[in-house]
């Protein structure tokens, strides 16, 4: 699928450092219900600093819900989530502390349409990190250059293409200097020709050692950068493995079915 897209980006795995002692996120025995509906059942997941995890699974399997629990966009009812040493409870201070360290990119970008690209990027550093405006702007421009759209800084989101908007969304998260980045299907609302520009930015991030959790069906991306691929079905983690064995030799029959559907469509 997008293997060809990514052929020119040689992600050198050896460059990416993973710590084997530092835990970035630890989820243990986590359960969540929507009313009576048991969406997440006993999720256990440990993410080390620098690890890049791709999460896939059929629609409705609870992928979004799981990563949204990590920054408390959804509340879990049972079990523990510890992010960067802080346990998520209903304590608002802790939640804010975690949100400051965890960046998130959404399927539909969710840029603020009433603010310019630059203002989108400087808003959180100025108001949450209390950074002087000048410094925030310098950092924002730095990241806008990283995602290759510094020239759009004074436009409004409505004037940008989807791919550009998603890159701005990534830059906006990076401006907070997060320790972990969450991606929820960042490319699935994009036209094919824009997917590559966004994936390139994400690959660059991975190479720099960013801890990433990424819900995506871009299997080429998973092969290139993931340390681990997680397959979810019906609210459970059914299988997890390194990309090569995961794709070539899936163990669980539901994984096999899913992969055959997604790879041969």
């Amino acid at each position: 699928m997008s293997d060809a897209n990514l052929a020119d980006v040689q992600a050198d795995r050896s460059k990416m450092q993973i710590s084997d002692t530092d835990v970035a996120i630890e989820i243990s025995g986590m359960n969540k219900w929507y009313g009576d509906f048991h969406v997440l059942r006993d999720i256990n997941l440990k993410v080390m600093r620098g690890e890049r995890i791709v999460i896939c699974g059929p629609s409705g399997s609870g992928k979004s819900t799981m990563i949204r629990c990590i920054n408390r966009l959804e509340e879990h009812q049972k079990g523990r989530i510890v992010v960067d040493g802080i346990e998520l409870t209903s304590d608002l201070k802790k939640i804010d502390e975690i949100r400051r360290e965890v960046g998130m990119c959404f399927q539909h970008f969710n840029l603020f349409p009433h603010l310019t690209i630059l203002e989108n990027c400087t808003l959180a550093p100025i108001w949450v990190r209390k950074m002087p405006k000048k410094q925030a702007e310098e950092i924002a421009m730095h990241y806008l250059e990283r995602v290759k759209i510094p020239e759009q800084a004074n436009k409004y989101p409505g004037q940008l293409s989807g791919g550009q908007q998603q890159r701005v969304a990534i830059a906006r998260s990076l401006c907070m200097n997060p320790k972990v980045m969450l991606f929820d299907e960042p490319t699935s609302a994009l036209d094919p020709e824009m997917i590559k520009e966004v994936l390139d930015v994400m690959i660059g991030l991975a190479e720099e050692g960013m801890t990433m959790l990424c819900v995506t069906h871009e299997m080429g991306f998973a092969r290139k950068v993931a340390n681990r691929v997680i397959f979810m079905d019906q609210g459970q983690i059914v299988e997890q493995n390194e990309p090569e064995p995961f794709f070539t030799n899936p163990q669980h029959e539901r994984t096999q079915l899913f992969l055959s559907q997604i790879l041969n469509h």
């Binding site: 408390r72 949100r99 965890v102 998130m104 539909h108 969710n110 603020f112 009433h114 808003l123 108001w127």
Partner: protein
């Protein structure tokens, strides 16, 4: 599929041609907009007929044959059968200021001028030195209050019973407008919050106020409020009316703004949360700017409604412009003159309402930053 006689593919570069005649420019516009179909043509001709049969008569009455110099309605009618504006000329002071002492007119006039000084920083968002100017805007209500009522610091006291005319309309309208917006915002936020007690208080307040006619509230302000207040507290009737009108408008305002809040995609709230913005920060920086922008037509609608509803105070005996019609008619000389007075009052209201409407259109255009 591969039938060669059908040209699916352009074999040569086609030249760019001018648009067909009569589809662009003035002729094109008239054709497309006024005579595009037989129904449209009939409606256009009908409208032209109506305009031509009504407008000349009005112009004739209001301008050509009108009388400005006369001492009574009879004198007017002897001169011509046009509008007798002489009554306005004689009484405009009263319609503007009510029974405010003539030698103190400078005070409301100064307050009116300062109103614009206070409005500039509030309405013009990239004014140089806006921060300091806004302090004056905040202080304005107190300045205006002091100027109009006086009573200490060298300004002679003027009682509320002397206030009237457009001055009274402006006091109630401006105060109502400037307080109903913030109160409406708070109510809307409360009603859309997930704190059950705050939410139900907001719902009860809004539904109660909306379910009661404004006149009832004004009567409450006029008669009943004294029963509810602690003994000895007896505040001014104009102040009481302002409070009631403000509460009434803020209930409507809250619903208008809640519509704006609901129209925002959930992703905006989530993105703000995910960045670590607190509740008040995300409301102030992300949610309200967008929700208020969406609600501008409704907000201005409520403002204009409030401004015109101030005329209801005549029911409880306050002398707003409509309330002053009766004393004028009570004057022997002007007895029987009706249309001219109402036309003049309508004109005064129209100026203010039209200005608000234009400003809102300007604001909407300015805040348009493309689609999401």
């Amino acid at each position: 599929m591969s039938d060669n006689s059908v040209a699916f593919v352009a074999t040569s570069d086609k030249p760019q041609l001018p648009a067909p005649q009569g589809t662009t420019g003035a002729v094109g516009w008239v054709r497309q907009n006024l005579f595009s179909s037989s129904l449209n043509t009939v409606l256009t001709l009908l409208s032209i007929f109506v305009v031509f049969s009504v407008v000349p008569g009005i112009v004739d009455w209001a301008f050509v044959k009108s009388v400005w110099n006369a001492n009574s309605l009879d004198e007017c009618r002897q001169i011509s059968d046009g509008a007798c504006w002489a009554v306005v000329r004689e009484r405009y002071n009263q319609f503007l200021f009510g029974f405010y002492p003539t030698e103190l007119y400078w005070r409301p006039i100064l307050a009116f001028v300062l109103l614009f000084v206070a409005l500039v920083p509030a309405l013009w968002d990239n004014m140089p030195g806006r921060g300091k100017a806004l302090i004056f805007s905040m202080a304005y209500p107190f300045v205006a209050f002091y100027l109009i009522w006086g009573g200490f610091g060298g300004l002679e006291y003027v009682s509320s019973s002397q206030l009237g005319g457009l001055l009274l309309t402006m006091i109630i309208g401006v105060a109502g407008i400037s307080f109903s917006l913030p109160i409406g915002i708070i109510l809307a936020l409360s009603r859309s919050s997930n704190l059950p007690i705050v939410k139900s208080l907001a719902v009860i307040f809004i539904e109660f106020i909306r379910g009661v006619p404004l006149i009832t509230l004004l009567f409450v302000a006029h008669v009943l409020l004294n029963y509810f207040l602690p003994k000895g507290v007896n505040f001014d009737i104009v102040l009481r009316v302002v409070i009631m009108v403000t509460l009434f408008a803020s209930a409507y305002m809250a619903e208008v703004i809640r519509g704006g809040l609901a129209a925002l995609p959930k992703g905006q709230y989530e993105a703000a949360d995910a960045l670590g913005l607190g509740y008040w920060q995300s409301m102030r920086l992300i949610i309200l700017p967008q929700a208020l922008k969406i609600s501008i037509p409704g907000i201005v609608n409520t403002f204009i409604g409030l401004f015109k509803d101030t005329t209801l105070v005549l029911i409880i005996g306050l002398m707003d412009p409509l309330g002053l019609v009766a004393p004028t008619l009570g004057d022997q000389r002007w007895n029987g003159i009706v249309v001219e007075l109402y036309a003049f009052i309508a004109f005064m209201f129209f100026i203010f309402c039209f200005a608000m409407s234009r400003y809102s259109m300007y604001l909407e255009r300015k805040l348009h930053t493309g689609h999401r």
